[in-house]
Amino acid sequence: MLYREAGDFHTTYTSDSQTFPIRFDRYRYYAVLVVAFLVVPFIINDYWANAILLPFLIYAIASIGLNILTGYCGQVSLGTGGFMAVGAYACYKLMTAFPDVSMFIHIILAGGITAFVGVLFGLPSLRIKGFYLAVATLAAQFFLLWLFNKVPWFYNYSASGQINAPERAVFGFEVTGPNAAASTTYLFCLVFCAVSALIARNLTRGTVGRSWMAIRDMDIAAEIIGVNPLRAKLSAFAVSSFFVGIAGALFFSVYLGAVEVGEAFSIQKSFLVLFMVIIGGLGSIFGSFAGAAFLVLLPVGLKVLGVDLMGWPTDIVAHFQLVIVGALIIFFLIVEPHGLAQLWRLAKEKLRLWPFPH
């Protein structure tokens, strides 16, 4: 009823390979964009921005990054937190060193620096895979955190060892610091999120994406068919770290404002993003969004349900949350290894025929 592809005929290969080949999908996508850019900024308040929308957008970028590496290229990474820290510290150093440069450029440069670091830590992937690579990236996580803790240059020799985002404006609107308005920070993150998703989609549907997926599915055959494994793997690490770095920079500068590296970018963060990717769906851009939304909304939803409605103590609800997330991950790994994205896909396939399934 709602979801039809009948009447959608493609007469060129270009129109067949567009992002949303089904017209209904396309319009829904435009509608989401319009609402996100033109409606939400006017109704947003601090609570919605800080509790839901900012973390959702930022984690979505990080999930897209990790999904490119793990979901598309098949290289498991547990270093996401460390790479986010690289983005955050790169952004901090750039913000303090060049106060007059636009925040857009700082964030993108921070992503670029993270991409470089990601390639360095991706080098072991040329020799090792699977669990062993996961351990190697885990080493990256611990090494990077140690580095940002131990070398005072990174936090500009501040006494607390923390980094604090100075106030910076974009087009006259403050995006960092305590005076930034919810709508501005939201829009700032939204721009990065939308562009990241677009770039990720373009990369994954073309030659680059196919060589990543070929490496993921069967690396020997990929090499014999002409995929350069070195280039494919390192480019995946670079692109992935670029997005993760942007997410880290936004997380620090726009969302938190002040960061203590061991708290904000610990191994927990690596796992959180990995869970988002697994629950959302490996190898799917939509899955990155779904996973981020799910894990950002879950604690909020549970808190509303448990504390506000049921009147349970906060700590019990917080513990419940861990239990539920753990159970869900086991559930998804067993029942639907392709995550929410696959459920969505199945629902669409059913909807195509509904209500007359024959």
Binding site: N202, G206, T207, V208, R210, R216, D217, A222, I225, V227
Partner: protein
């Protein structure tokens, strides 16, 4: 024997050209085991060349040497008139050699179309940044290559499954998709590792037809390994016979069929 520069004409009247690939005294060892001992033969433009032999004769090793996956300890591989330096498998692919595998090696998580498009990879030139932008060069390249991929999809009659994930396909179709992926590279030399293994008679007939059609239509030079004698004798123009890593026969199917050594290798010899 044949002259190195000129070709010959097959029984069915096809013109066979000069030498595309020549194996010169190839020896391949794995530790103490000699998989291939001092084998030489050539493959000529436009011909269907078969490598046959009993199990463990070293046929697949030979194919792996040809595709650059194994590096022989001795001997040279000449490709298109030049000795091929030691190179990585993906560089060999870029030279115009494509292959299929004995146990299907498709990208299971991707659709048929994506698999075939991956075969076009060696022809894709746009860099990462134009890919990220998509509109413009990357899209134009994608469309141009899609046209070629679709031609091959048409040719192998797999249009109906082009958007199906490969993991969902039955065995026979997977073999065909793998052939499509190899063909998509528009190879100068196509290596087929047991294209008919595990197929029933009907599927074998289909596959044989496709191999002949590919050779006929695109003029692709094909080297294949196959166990089914009937198929080999019908398809190929010339046959190399291997046994225990050595070449024991080389020639047209008829010559090979009447070669005493070959008969001995296949039927066994009476020891007294």
């Amino acid at each position: 024997m044949l002259d190195a520069s000129e070709g010959y004409t097959t029984a069915d009247g096809r013109k066979i050209g000069g030498v595309v690939m020549e194996m010169k005294n190839i020896t391949l060892r794995f530790g103490g085991v000699k998989a291939i001992t001092d084998i030489s033969f050539d493959i000529r433009e436009g011909e269907i060349r078969a490598i046959i032999g009993p199990n463990g004769a070293g046929k697949s090793s030979m194919l792996n040497v040809m595709s650059g996956f194994y590096v022989p300890q001795e001997g040279e591989v000449w490709f298109r008139g030049k000795p091929r330096p030691q190179m990585k498998p993906y560089e060999v692919a870029r030279q115009g050699i494509a292959r299929t595998f004995q146990n299907i090696a498709l990208f299971e998580g991707m659709s048929v179309l994506d698999n075939v498009m991956t075969g076009r990879l060696t022809h894709m030139r746009t860099g990462m940044f134009s890919q990220a932008l998509w509109k413009g060069r990357a899209e134009a390249e994608e469309t141009a290559n899609r046209e070629i991929a679709e031609k091959i999809i048409d040719f192998l009659e797999i249009q109906a499954i082009r958007k199906t994930p490969v993991a969902r396909l039955p065995y026979g179709l997977k073999k065909r998709v793998e052939l499509a992926r190899a063909l998509a590279a528009e190879p100068k030399l196509l290596l087929l590792d047991e294209p008919m293994a595990g197929m029933n008679v009907e599927e074998k007939e289909d596959m044989s037809r496709f191999i002949l059609d590919v050779n006929d239509e695109f003029g692709t030079t094909i080297a294949l390994i196959e166990h089914d004698m009937g198929v080999v004798m019908d398809l190929s123009d010339r046959v190399v016979v291997m046994d225990y890593g050595k070449k024991i026969g080389d020639g047209t199917p008829d010559e090979v069929r009447n070669n005493q050594e070959v008969i001995d290798a296949y039927l066994g010899v009476e020891h007294d």
